[in-house]
């Protein structure tokens, strides 16, 4: 049952994934004029151009280039950086964990703040506290990540000196220092996400608490706390989880700018620097990894949803 569902979902995903790779591949084809000029600049010699052309495989037909590129990625070969000559796969191996750590920490923070706040607001619907929380959430969603990060640096790093504004260290070298450097970036993304989670939780809770089984639970004397958490919240977790899963793309987009502010050497910074240096294999590798990560998370969310909720599985 579940295996069949998994297979069906994956087979639906495959064409999308292929088109994604094709779109990313098209980046090099779409370069205006001669791609070697775009990459090397106007005053590169013919010899330099020829070397690059060969390196990129531009002397071959586009379809062959695409298949070779795709095959390479499937076997872990993402090409080499035009700037440093480093294999892109090695660069990715260093940078993916940083972005993933930032994403996971932000998500945890968003859930820890968002769900209790949502429940709190929903159980006091229409009260001043509810209005206050909703207002705070709406404001928090209007603050762009980069400004939120800057404000946090100004307050906690520059003025109070409590936390560093940069200075990333890998977790396995200095776990404490690593987490310290991750606090402000995670708050930057986490609070904005928390607002979304809160709104979703509140909406779902308001709907659930109106239902008959909640009344029944109350009528048979279940403690109010238990009604809210064991009966109410439990039924809200599915839609809330789905929304969190679907927001992963926004979250990673936020990670790109946040990494720039806090000088975290993650995927986002790699892509942005790659754009400045016109280092296409690096940009392409980074984008493919991010999009595949998003697709994977969406797939997992989708499956989790179907497994958790029998109504979906049966339909």
């Amino acid at each position: 049952m579940t295996a069949r569902l998994l297979l069906r979902r994956i087979s639906q995903l495959l064409p999308t994934a292929l088109i994604v790779t094709f779109l990313v591949f098209m980046m090099t084809l779409a370069l205006p004029g001669d791609p070697t000029t775009a990459i090397l600049g106007e005053d590169a010699s013919a010899e330099q151009r020829e070397i690059l052309r060969e390196k990129l495989g531009l002397d071959r037909p586009a379809a062959v280039q695409y298949v070779v590129w795709l095959g390479g990625m499937a076997t872990g070969d993402f090409g080499t950086s035009l700037k440093t000559g480093e294999p892109v796969a090695d660069m990715l191996a260093l940078r993916v964990p940083i972005t993933v750590e930032l994403t996971v920490l932000s998500m945890v923070l968003a859930v820890l703040i968002g769900i209790p706040a949502g429940v709190f607001a929903a159980t006091r619907r229409g009260s001043l506290a509810d209005l206050g929380i909703s207002f705070l959430a709406m404001s928090s969603m209007a603050v762009p990540y980069f400004w939120a990060g800057m404000l946090l640096i100004m307050l906690f790093a520059v003025k109070l000196g409590w936390l560093p504004s940069s200075g990333y260290v890998p977790f396995h070298i200095d776990p404490f220092g690593n987490l310290r450097a991750m606090i402000l970036p995670s708050i930057t993304i986490g609070t904005a996400m928390a607002a979304l989670v809160m709104r979703q939780t509140r909406a779902a809770m308001c709907e659930t608490m109106e239902q008959d089984f909640i009344r029944t639970a109350r009528a048979k004397g279940v403690r109010p706390r238990s009604v809210v958490y064991r009966h109410g919240l439990r039924n809200c977790l599915i839609p809330v989880t789905t929304v969190i899963g679907l927001q992963i793309g926004t979250l990673i987009g936020g990670a790109v700018v946040t990494e720039t502010i806090f000088s975290l050497p993650g995927l986002g910074r790699m892509i942005v620097n790659g754009i400045f240096w016109r280092d296409f294999p690096v940009v392409q590798g980074g984008i493919v990894v991010i999009v595949f990560f998003v697709l994977l998370v969406n797939l997992v969310t989708d499956l989790a949803y179907s497994i958790l909720d029998p109504r979906v599985r049966l339909s």
């Binding site: 999308t16 088109i19 980046m27 700018v257």
Partner: protein, 290 residues
């Protein structure tokens, strides 16, 4: 006209009813007011800005807010208030152009996809899904990586990123009205597909499209600022909120350099969000009345 009995029910178009609801809701009024101020600043920037946004005051380098420079001056001695006012121009221009382009192209794709159906629909929707799999900022970055960081390319990138959303909204709507009687009637009197789509279906879906556009506008504004912040938007010395913030990152002690441009983005996004939410509310309330 004069002898119309007052008891007759007032016949208002749904559009008017929505607008009435919008302008009587606190959210809508607040949003519209903020947008009004922004548009006012953008259009009249040369007249209301106290100084030229690129003029350098050599003896007022990085001054905190004062009577002459209400928002202070930046690292080159330029008036921040004037730069914030001029910044509204670039941001609004990008939002209007990119959402406008996305609306036109996306709606057209959605109309065709929904009306023609079959293989065409399948292919278009698959490509749509693939584009939607890209985080918005990442796709915009990819497009700018190819065509280079300029204002026009930022507009195009934000437009492309938003096309699939519009296509999806319009397609869904077309699918639901395609079999309605009024469409059938149009077909029966011999109208071609183009006429049916443009004259009968388009007006029907336009309400949803406009509401969707207003909801996407704030995301477009944030993307524009993010691109400018990363140095991938407009070139200096043209003032934009995002690039002002990027500069401010090098001068932490000059708090006014980061507070005011950031506030401008925050208020603008809030205004767009309020407007979008209020429009959506008004539309849903009007529909449930009918």
């Amino acid at each position: 006209m004069t002898d119309a009995s007052p008891a007759a029910p007032a016949i208002t178009s749904p559009g008017r009813a929505i607008l009435h609801r919008f302008f009587t809701s606190p959210l809508g009024v607040t949003g519209a007011t903020i947008l009004g101020v922004l548009i006012f600043c953008a259009i009249l920037a040369p007249f209301i800005a106290p100084h030229d946004p690129t003029e350098i005051f050599w003896d007022h380098i990085q001054q905190p807010p004062s009577a002459t420079f209400l928002f202070g001056t930046d690292e080159l001695g330029r008036d921040i208030l004037s730069r914030v006012i001029w910044g509204a121009r670039v941001s609004l221009w990008v939002v209007i152009c990119s959402i406008g382009i996305a609306l036109l192209i996306g709606s057209l794709i959605g109309l065709i996809s929904g009306y023609v159906g079959g293989v065409v629909d399948d292919v278009i929707m698959r490509i749509n899904d693939a584009i939607l799999a890209f985080p918005m900022l990442i796709l915009a970055l990819g497009i700018i990586a190819v065509f280079g960081p300029t204002l026009t390319n930022a507009i195009l990138a934000i437009a492309v990123v938003n096309i699939p959303g519009f296509a999806r909204v319009v397609r869904g709507q077309v699918l639901s009205v395609r079999e309605h009687e009024f469409v059938e009637a149009a077909r029966s009197i011999g109208l071609g597909p183009a006429a049916i789509l443009l004259r009968h279906i388009l007006p029907y879906v336009s309400g949803n499209v406009i509401v969707y556009a207003s909801l996407r506008a704030s995301a477009a504004l944030i993307t524009e600022s993010a691109l400018a912040f990363l140095g991938l938007g407009v070139k200096p010395p043209t003032p934009t909120w995002g690039s002002m913030l990027a500069t401010a990152m090098q001068y932490w002690d000059a708090w006014w350099m980061s507070i005011f441009p950031g506030l401008a983005i925050f208020i603008a996004v809030l205004g767009l969000n309020f407007t979008g939410d209020a429009l959506l509310d008004a539309k849903q309330a009007t529909e449930s009345d009918n």
